[in-house]
Subunit: 206 residues, 2 copies
Amino acid sequence: MTESKGVLRKAALLDAAEEVLVTKGNANAAMRDFAAAAGVRIGHLQHYFPTRSDLIRAVLERTLERSLRRLEEAAGFDLRAGASGTLTRSDSHRLLEALLLEHSDLADVRMHLEIWALAASDELAASALRSFYSQYSGHVQGVVRRGRPDLTEPEISDVAATVVSLFEGAAVTRSDIAGLRTEQGDQAIIRTAQWLIHGQEPAQCP
Amino acid sequence: MTESKGVLRKAALLDAAEEVLVTKGNANAAMRDFAAAAGVRIGHLQHYFPTRSDLIRAVLERTLERSLRRLEEAAGFDLRAGASGTLTRSDSHRLLEALLLEHSDLADVRMHLEIWALAASDELAASALRSFYSQYSGHVQGVVRRGRPDLTEPEISDVAATVVSLFEGAAVTRSDIAGLRTEQGDQAIIRTAQWLIHGQEPAQCP
DNA sequence: GCAATTTTAGGTCAAATGACCTAGAATCAA
DNA sequence: TTGATTCTAGGTCATTTGACCTAAAATTGC
């Protein structure tokens, strides 16, 4: 079923809004900027998104949804709580590299920063963000459960939250904004996440 | 030497500006909001900070400087590259707990989010932030150097960057904004940081 | 084909905004 | 004491802003 002009237009407006948020930041982005980026006039934009906060909220929801979906795709296996299976170190390495790559997308990093800052002062945004992180860390728990089947559910939850913290922090610090990225540093992050996911490597005994 | 009225006023204006940034966010904070929070009129505020970006920049510099100083104080030892010494697990535990506590201050977390978001679209802010992280991770290197004297300098740098990533990410995810905090989760973060700082715990051999 | 609905263009408005200004009071330094 | 400097209050201005509106064009569905 071909999508209606309205649905396509809405998506184009959201694309344009994202681009403006990424380049000018939320603090400097006006409705006329969003409209111009989409090649329409403000009245038209406001037909689809009557208020500024309608637009920003829609961008936020779309961005968070995309991040969740990407994690599911990167995993390539069922992340739900009931699912069973194991995870080899090479598979977790592959997954973590994909995750780190996703956290390197400069536009995505900036979108996330804007969302965090928005959520810091807008309770509706914060609520959406908490829901997102609950789901996101739930997915990461699905990963940890396969690497550490010996852990209790609360322990799995804590490990997953730590992995999420590490990757969210790395997205910022490894970006051009903070400038702490090195090639070997990426490997250190993956090694750390693997330590969390799999536990200690086999002991070397004399 | 008693500080002049101007110096005291400036500090009070910066305090007020911080509070407004934390509660309203940069995107919704006007010069008149800042002035009102400080109990003065906008003209007076503009005497001390002629443009909005002068004010925001000053807040940014002060916040980053404070974070650096706090890390120095929490360490309680010389973090410079040439300094030598060791670091026990109990001392690193104490330091990491202090660091995590500092990363739990909701106003501070919000200030940092606003600074990150600002730096994402303002190159001057980004430059200041890069300088800050360079120094901050330099300090953390001073910690890692004591825990892992066997590492090369590039390795120390990568480990330090990973510790910084973990703590910056944790500040966000453990805040009310993201809602992923648990008591045991805090211990998982500290354990992870200790693993990074000290390396693997002694092997248990039969 | 035609009425209803959706899409599009363009305009207007009051309020808010950052920037700039004047002038008087307070403080400082010689 | 006096002039210079700093501090403080309050005002003004042009521009920008989000929100709201009208009307025409395009599309849809019966």
